[in-house]
């Protein structure tokens, strides 16, 4: 789309768009093409010699038990993070929307964790759940009577990174639910109340269906967050351990590529991730388009 009234200078137009195009080509397209080429090559760790091997890298990663395990871990991890953070974000959003007093203060107190870096969230929760010094660990061991050691036990470590990643994301979801709730026409709720529907019924029949686009959008965004941005949590807290229990796909790309110097395998894994995120983006755009048609 372009403005009916626009300017004529071609040179200026190209000058204005040049920085964006240059940076995009240098740091998006060129690396993406390099990655694609590399995923079909077998190189020695120093990248001096390489050999074209067709799909061998892909065949190798998809027959690698560790990679398949990492896919499973990432799926469970991102679904858990998305579910927990959306559930709490929605609950708090609905409650805050009902509150008449101290609304601004409630909002302030609930949105600030958004600004905490995932890695710092990881460090805070590592301390809370530390087997020797953490207060949550103390509670789990003494009140619930469970064995607890995230440095040795894979499930405990997994639980720790899920909680640390989800905690930070609650605020993000909260902001969107607040916006979504404010967009619901007050008259709908009042009409239902006059017809005798109680608060809970009004939630299920009116609020929840009208929030469903927000929920869908947030599910996608939270899964993307859990896939990529939680790298900081994993790297600062567990380094993929113990025994690979928290080795998510992005962490594995980093580990195989940068620490293991297995360039071909790392590139192939990057390509899988890229394909995945492109699919998700396309799906989301199609859904958003449909939503627009519904409303107009």
């Amino acid at each position: 789309m372009i403005k009916r009234s626009h300017f004529k200078s071609n040179t200026l137009a190209y000058l204005l768009i040049t920085p964006q195009i240059l940076v995009t080509i240098a740091f998006f397209y060129w690396p993406a093409i390099q990655g694609l080429l590399q995923s079909f090559m077998l190189s020695d760790p120093f990248g001096r010699r390489s050999q074209f091997v067709w799909f061998e890298n892909f065949v190798r990663i998809f027959t690698d038990i560790l990679y398949l395990k990492s896919i499973g871990i990432t799926l469970v991890f991102s679904l858990s993070v998305a579910f927990i953070s959306i559930f709490f974000g929605m609950t708090l959003g609905c409650l805050a929307n009902r509150a008449l007093r101290a609304k601004a203060m409630i909002r302030t107190l609930l949105i600030w964790p958004y600004a905490v870096a995932p890695a710092i969230s990881g460090i805070l929760w590592l301390f809370l759940m530390h087997p020797s010094y953490g207060v949550v660990a103390y509670f789990i061991e003494n009140s619930l009577g469970l064995e607890w050691n995230p440095t040795l036990n894979g499930n405990d470590a997994f639980f720790l990174v899920v909680v640390a990643s989800a905690w930070k994301q609650i605020s993000y979801n909260f902001v969107f639910f607040m916006a979504g709730l404010q967009a619901i026409p007050h008259s709908l709720i009042e009409a239902a109340a006059i017809d005798g529907a109680g608060p809970l019924r009004r939630f299920w029949v009116i609020t929840f269906p009208l929030l469903s686009p927000t929920i869908f959008f947030l599910t996608v965004m939270n899964i993307i967050y859990a896939f990529f941005e939680t790298f900081g949590v994993i790297h600062a807290v567990t380094q993929g351990g113990p025994g690979g229990a928290t080795n998510t796909l992005v962490y594995k790309v980093y580990q195989d590529g940068f620490i293991g110097l297995n360039l071909g395998a790392s590139a192939a894994q990057s390509m899988v991730l890229m394909a995945l995120i492109i699919t998700v983006t396309v799906l989301q755009f199609r859904f958003v388009e449909r939503r627009v048609q519904y409303t107009t």
Partner: protein, 307 residues
């Protein structure tokens, strides 16, 4: 909103909100408490929940042990650079796409738009290689065209073209690769499209050039959008993890979020969690302050950015 009088439900609402706020705030409350305690108390099981008086001692320990002073400055430069760079680059780009008609307009738009959802995490190694030598593509061209042997043949001398410009351990390297953002360009494009045609027509009638129109009309109109993006992008830049981890090896060039890792006590260390928590508070304060002080723009920015 108020629909009917429901005293029981209201009590329930406020009680659960209180519980929610406490649960969300607990990690910070606990961190603040730990950061005020001396070592022997923080290592006690369970740790006392009443604050001590060692706050500044611990902050100072974190500052010196973790090299945080230098790294906080790095974080600030990186976050500010990404924020300013992203906004300038994407605003000019959107201006070009919306207000000019040229042959490759749609190509340019598509080129930028296609990168909308590709985070740096999916192309880690090749982007790193690109940053390690920004002239890599030119070098590749030289190699492919065998320019070296050509030059040797032409000049008769024995020399070689070796192009290298590394961004490793530099502020440019920390900032530049994260400056291209399809999201921001898209946001400005959407906003520019809502600006009435009459404004541009009037400006042109008055004889304003394109850049005068940009400075005098578009920029002031975009003020709220810019404020909103400043909050989001500053937090984004400050909290980057993977990219600074890859591109810096020198502890003096890395960012505070990365440097914090050195303060975490490992299994055999003295459990100085008080210092680790003091450091964490120090590093998270700037972005938290930005979000809290610019809350209105933050909410707007977050919600509109994702539309």
């Amino acid at each position: 909103m108020m629909v009917e009088r429901t005293p029981i439900l209201d009590t329930f609402t406020y009680t659960f909100l209180m519980v929610g706020i406490c649960v969300v705030g607990f990690p910070i409350f606990y961190a603040v408490t730990a950061a005020t305690l001396p070592l022997d108390q923080v290592a006690r099981i369970p740790m006392p929940l009443t604050p001590g008086d060692q706050f500044f001692v611990n902050i100072q320990a974190a500052w010196t042990d973790g090299n945080l002073g230098r790294q906080l400055i790095n974080s600030f430069i990186m976050a500010a650079g990404i924020t300013i760079g992203k906004i300038v680059v994407s605003m000019l780009g959107a201006f070009s796409i919306v207000y000019f008609n040229y042959r490759f307009r749609m190509v340019a738009f598509a080129t930028v738009f296609c990168t909308l959802m590709l985070p740096v995490e999916v192309r880690i190694l090749p982007t790193y290689e690109m940053a390690a030598n920004l002239l890599g593509p030119l070098q590749w061209l030289v190699d492919v065209l065998h320019l070296n042997s050509l030059l040797q043949w032409v000049t008769g001398n024995d020399f070689e073209i070796f192009l290298e410009w590394s961004l490793l351990d530099s502020y440019t390297g920390l900032i530049l690769p994260l400056v291209a953002s399809a999201t921001c360009t898209f946001l400005f494009r959407q906003f520019f499209l809502t600006i009435p045609e009459e404004l541009c027509e009037a400006a042109k009638l008055d004889g304003a050039s394109a850049m005068v129109f940009f400075w005098k009309i578009l920029l002031p109109l975009s003020a709220t959008n810019i404020a909103a993006l400043v909050v989001i992008e500053f937090v984004y830049g400050w909290n980057q993890y993977l990219w600074p981890l890859l591109i810096t090896t020198d502890p003096d060039m890395t960012t505070a979020v990365i440097g914090l890792k050195n303060l975490i006590p490992q299994a055999d260390d003295i459990p100085m969690w008080n210092v680790a928590m003091a450091g964490s508070l120090l590093v998270m304060t700037p972005p938290v302050l930005v979000v809290l002080l610019m809350q209105r723009w933050f909410v707007k920015g977050l919600v509109e950015r994702e539309k």
